[in-house]
C-alpha cells in the first residue's frame, strides 16, 4: 500500500478510456467519493465493469449521467432508464452477463484462471457464440476472465497497511474486484490503526491495495 490520497488526486490517475471495476449493488457499498471525483474530472470513454449501473443520481449512475461511459459490462441495468436509453441510442455498448457468471469471470481474472465453466446460460441467448464443453457428463459454458485497469473498492474500515473489512450487504463485488484491477483504490468509511481490524476479520489483505482514499474530515 502506497498511502492515502485525496479523491481528486486518485481520480487524476484515471486516464481517458480506462477500464474500471466498481464495487456496489444498487449503489450500496460503492466508492461514492471516488465516483464524485471522476465526474468532477470529467475524463470519458470509460469501460465500467460492475453488477449494475444503480440509478440516475446515485453511485455508478452519476458516471452514466455525466456521459463518461462508453461500455458497460453488468448483470442488470433495469433500474437505470438512462443506461437503457443510451444503450438503445448506441451511445453505450452494454454487455449483459448473468450475475453469478460476472462475479466468477472477475474472480477468474483476479486469481489467474483461464476462465469459468458454468451451467448458467446454457440453452439461452447467453450461450450464443460461446464454447460448450462436457466435464464428467455435464455440459458447461466457457466464460472468459475479466480484468481492469482499476478496481475502485468501497470498504467499511481500512487500516494503515490497507487491510480492508466490509459490512453487511456492502460486501457484494468489492472483495472480488480487489484482485482483478491493475491498480486498486479503496475508499473506506474510516481508517483505523493497525490491529483494530483483527487478522481474522480482514477480507481484503492490504498487499492487494495500492491506494486508500483519505477519509472525509
Amino acid at each position: 500500500m502506497k498511502g492515502a490520497l485525496k479523491p481528486d488526486a486518485a481520480a487524476a490517475m484515471v486516464p481517458q478510456g480506462a477500464s474500471l471495476m466498481i464495487g456496489g449493488f444498487m449503489a450500496v457499498g460503492s466508492p461514492h467519493r471516488m465516483i464524485d471525483a471522476l465526474v468532477e474530472r470529467g475524463v470519458g470513454g470509460l469501460t465500467v465493469i460492475a453488477n449494475d449501473t444503480a440509478m440516475p443520481g446515485k453511485g455508478i449512475g452519476k458516471l452514466i449521467s455525466a456521459g463518461l461511459v462508453k461500455r458497460v459490462i453488468a448483470s442488470h441495468i433495469g433500474l437505470n432508464p438512462e443506461t437503457q436509453a443510451k444503450m438503445i441510442s448506441g451511445e453505450i455498448d452494454v454487455e449483459l452477463v448473468p450475475q453469478g457468471t460476472l462475479i466468477e469471470r472477475i474472480r477468474a481474472g483476479g486469481m489467474g484462471l483461464g476462465g469459468v465453466l458454468t451451467p448458467t446460460g446454457l440453452g439461452t441467448e447467453v450461450e450464443e457464440g460461446k464454447q460448450v464443453v462436457e466435464v464428467q457428463g455435464k455440459r458447461f459454458l466457457v466464460e472468459t476472465p475479466l480484468k481492469a485497469d482499476f478496481a475502485l473498492v468501497g470498504a467499511w474500515q481500512a487500516d494503515y497497511v490497507g487491510n480492508l473489512s466490509y459490512t453487511l450487504t456492502a460486501h457484494n463485488f468489492n472483495p472480488i474486484i480487489a484482485l482483478a484491477g491493475k491498480t486498486v483504490i479503496a475508499e473506506p468509511e474510516s481508517i483505523v490503526p493497525v490491529g483494530v481490524i483483527p487478522p481474522d476479520a480482514v477480507k481484503t489483505p492490504g498487499v492487494l491495495v495500492d491506494h486508500l482514499l483519505l477519509r472525509t474530515h
Binding site: S75, P98, T101, G123
Partner: protein, 217 residues
C-alpha cells in the same frame, strides 16, 4: 382474496422448515409475510445476506443493509453477510433449497422467460439465470394472464431464462406442475372451475379426474 396475496399465500405452503429460500423482487417477496418464523427458514438476498428480515422501524434503517431491490431490510439472529461470489456459489452450487421468481411467460416444457422483452424492455438477467439453473426447487409466482393474454403458452416466445424445467407454477387461477408429459393442472383457485382455467390458458393442460381447490387457511 386479492390475486397477489392469494399467490403468495399458496407459494408459502411450499416452504418447509429449515429451508434456505431466495425470493425474487415484486410479488415473490410477499411470500415471506406468510411464512411462520417458527419454521426456522432463512431467506437469502443475492446481494449478500442470509437471514433477511422485514424493514426495520422508521429511522432505524442501515444504508448498508438492503435487499436485492435496494430496499431497506433487517436481519434475523443467525444471519450472515456474504460477498457475491459466495452468494452465487450458494445458488449455483445446489445449496439453495428453493427460489420463487416472477415470470413473463412459462410454457408446456416448463421453461421460464422472465428477463427480456426484445425491443421493449432489456433490464438484464441479474441473478435470475443462476437462480433457475442452480436452485433445488424453482417456483414461478405470477398472474395467469397479462392484459387478457395468457402467460402460459405452448412455447415461450420471449428469450428463455434457463433451459431447466421449473418445478411449480402458482397463479391467481391455478397451480400447475410441469412434467415429462406436459403441464398438469394440480389445483384451482377458490371459486375457479377447471373450465375457467382452461379458457384462460393458451397452453395445453393435463387435467386429472380430481382437481382440488387450493387450501388457503
Amino acid at each position: 382474496m386479492e390475486a397477489k396475496k392469494l399467490i403468495a399465500k399458496r407459494v408459502a405452503q411450499e416452504i418447509k422448515p429449515g429451508m434456505l429460500v431466495n425470493l425474487g423482487i415484486g410479488l415473490p417477496s410477499m411470500v415471506a409475510t406468510f411464512v411462520s418464523p417458527s419454521l426456522g427458514v432463512f431467506f437469502q438476498a443475492e446481494n449478500g445476506v442470509i437471514g433477511l428480515a422485514a424493514r426495520p422501524p422508521e429511522g432505524m434503517e442501515d444504508p448498508h443493509l438492503t435487499d436485492a431491490g435496494g430496499g431497506f431490510v433487517s436481519a434475523v439472529p443467525g444471519a450472515a453477510s456474504i460477498d457475491s461470489a459466495m452468494s452465487f456459489g450458494l445458488i449455483r452450487g445446489g445449496h439453495l433449497d428453493m427460489t420463487v421468481l416472477g415470470g413473463l411467460q412459462v410454457d408446456e416444457l416448463g421453461h421460464l422467460a422472465n428477463w427480456k422483452v426484445p425491443g421493449k424492455m432489456v433490464p438484464g438477467m441479474g441473478g435470475a439465470m443462476d437462480l433457475v439453473t442452480g436452485a433445488a426447487k424453482v417456483v414461478v409466482a405470477m398472474q395467469h394472464a397479462a392484459k387478457g393474454e395468457s402467460k402460459i403458452l405452448s412455447r415461450c416466445t420471449l428469450p428463455l431464462t434457463s433451459a431447466r424445467r421449473v418445478d411449480l407454477i402458482v397463479t391467481d387461477l391455478a397451480v400447475l406442475k410441469p412434467t415429462d408429459e406436459g403441464l398438469v393442472l394440480q389445483e384451482r383457485a377458490p371459486g375457479v372451475s377447471v373450465d375457467d382455467v382452461l379458457a384462460a390458458t393458451q397452453a395445453k393442460l393435463i387435467v386429472p379426474a380430481d382437481v382440488p381447490e387450493m387450501q388457503l387457511v
